[in-house]
């Protein structure tokens, strides 16, 4: 068994500026329709950081991977990843995700346990 970890930190102000400048890019290539439903910017920044953290943890190449990983919230508010297409391919046994906001920054950490 192997543990892999990935993290990403983002300044929300910079994310907001990029999102405002290239909304089509984010809609087309990064976020799912469900993720965009909650269009509160700091929430989206957290999702972006979580996806990047997952990409690093799973040694994926960015690009198409963005849309293969979806971030959603359980009723309790805990963020979880939905990456069913990748789970089997990457031999993922279990994983955990944590997103934290502090002022104008958001950080996400993904830990993955491989079979």
């Amino acid at each position: 068994m192997k543990i892999k970890i990935g993290s990403d930190i983002l300044q929300i102000k910079k994310f907001k500026a990029a999102f405002k400048k290239y909304p089509e890019k984010f809609e087309r290539d990064i976020f799912s329709i469900r993720e965009l439903k909650n269009s509160e910017i700091s929430h989206l920044a957290g999702i972006f950081a979580a996806k990047e953290a997952a990409i690093k943890a799973l040694d994926l190449k960015p690009g198409r991977s963005w849309k293969l990983i979806e971030v959603k919230n359980l009723k309790s508010g805990k963020p979880v990843l939905n990456f069913s297409q990748l789970a089997d391919k990457k031999n993922i046994r279990s994983y955990d995700l944590s997103i934290s906001h502090h002022g104008d920054y958001v950080i996400a950490v993904v830990a993955v346990l491989l079979k």
Partner: protein, 295 residues
């Protein structure tokens, strides 16, 4: 020596002077490119150079010269979708007029009678005019066309997202073109082809119906307008009539394709807007957004 367009883009994104960016500079180590800047880089290359770069090709070892090579090797995006050669023909116009009268409008009247206000703002206008409306559901276009005066109703073309009608629903494309005289307008990336098609139609004195949000609003609130909205308004040089639509999404809610109930649609025309050539596209977009929000 003139700096390459790529180096100018990298200078803008990394906030480093272009004189300090060289072909051997590594994007991550030297220019400190992070995940967000990588997205911006790819988006700027697509926007300014018309080339789609696979983000996966940018890694910690990638140098500027590697990216220059990728851009050179990648062909520019082609215009895949054009205005159909038959759709503007006078005979097709006549068929469309008949289809409106005997099918489209009677069916609309059954599910969604349309109430209109602000038609007095159209009295002094003639083709070409650009009508810009908020987007709530698939009933928006027929509702607007239904209440336009004849000189516009029979001479209007609908800007339609290429990824929706011309790719996703391409099996229905010709029927929709026949009924609504749609033409392709990209929602993402380079919109030059959409602008060229619009110019072609306006030069032939067709009026345009355009939805600046680029997609139906799921929440019911008006989405941020696409940046091309203001550019289109300034470039085309014809009056822009803002339109507000209410009631349609209650009849066909988001993610539905058929009416869930009967209801009334309200269409309100606003005062025409005129844009000077020197106005920036951001200023024009904001004016149009305010005009529609204010109706």
């Amino acid at each position: 020596m003139k700096k390459s367009p790529l180096i100018k883009i990298l200078s803008l994104i990394s906030n480093k002077k272009s004189g300090r960016i060289h072909q051997e500079s590594r994007l991550v180590r030297d220019l400190k490119l992070d995940s967000l800047m990588r997205i911006e880089l790819v988006a700027q290359i697509e926007k300014q150079l018309g080339v789609e770069i696979d983000e996966a090709k940018i890694n910690p070892q990638t140098k500027v010269e590697d990216l220059e090579r990728l851009i050179r090797e990648k062909p520019k995006k082609e215009i895949k979708f054009k205005i159909s050669s038959w759709q503007l023909h006078p005979l097709i116009k006549l068929i469309r007029k008949i289809l409106y009268k005997i099918i489209a409008f009677p069916v609309l009247a059954i599910f969604a009678p349309v109430e209109v206000s602000g038609q007095e703002f159209l009295e002094d206008l003639d083709n070409p005019v650009i009508f810009m409306a908020n987007h709530t559901c698939t009933l928006d276009s027929p509702a607007v066309v239904r209440v336009l005066p004849s000189r516009f109703k029979n001479n209007i073309a609908l800007a339609t997202a290429t990824d929706v009608l011309y790719e996703h629903f391409k099996w229905a494309k010709d029927l929709v073109i026949l009924i609504y005289n749609t033409y392709p307008f990209p929602r993402f990336g380079q919109i030059k082809s959409g602008l060229d098609h619009t110019q072609e139609l306006i030069d032939k004195k067709w009026s345009i119906l355009f939805f600046p949000e680029g997609k139906e609003s799921v929440s019911g609130k008006i989405n941020q307008f696409k940046r091309g909205t203001g550019f289109l308004a300034v470039k085309m040089g014809c009056p822009v009539v803002p339109i507000r639509i209410w009631g349609a999404r209650e009849i066909i809610p988001p993610h539905c394709h058929f009416p869930k109930k009967r209801g009334k649609i309200s269409v309100k025309f606003g005062k025409p807007l005129y844009f000077k050539k020197k106005m920036t596209s951001d200023e024009a977009t904001e004016l149009i957004e305010q005009a529609i929000q204010g109706l």
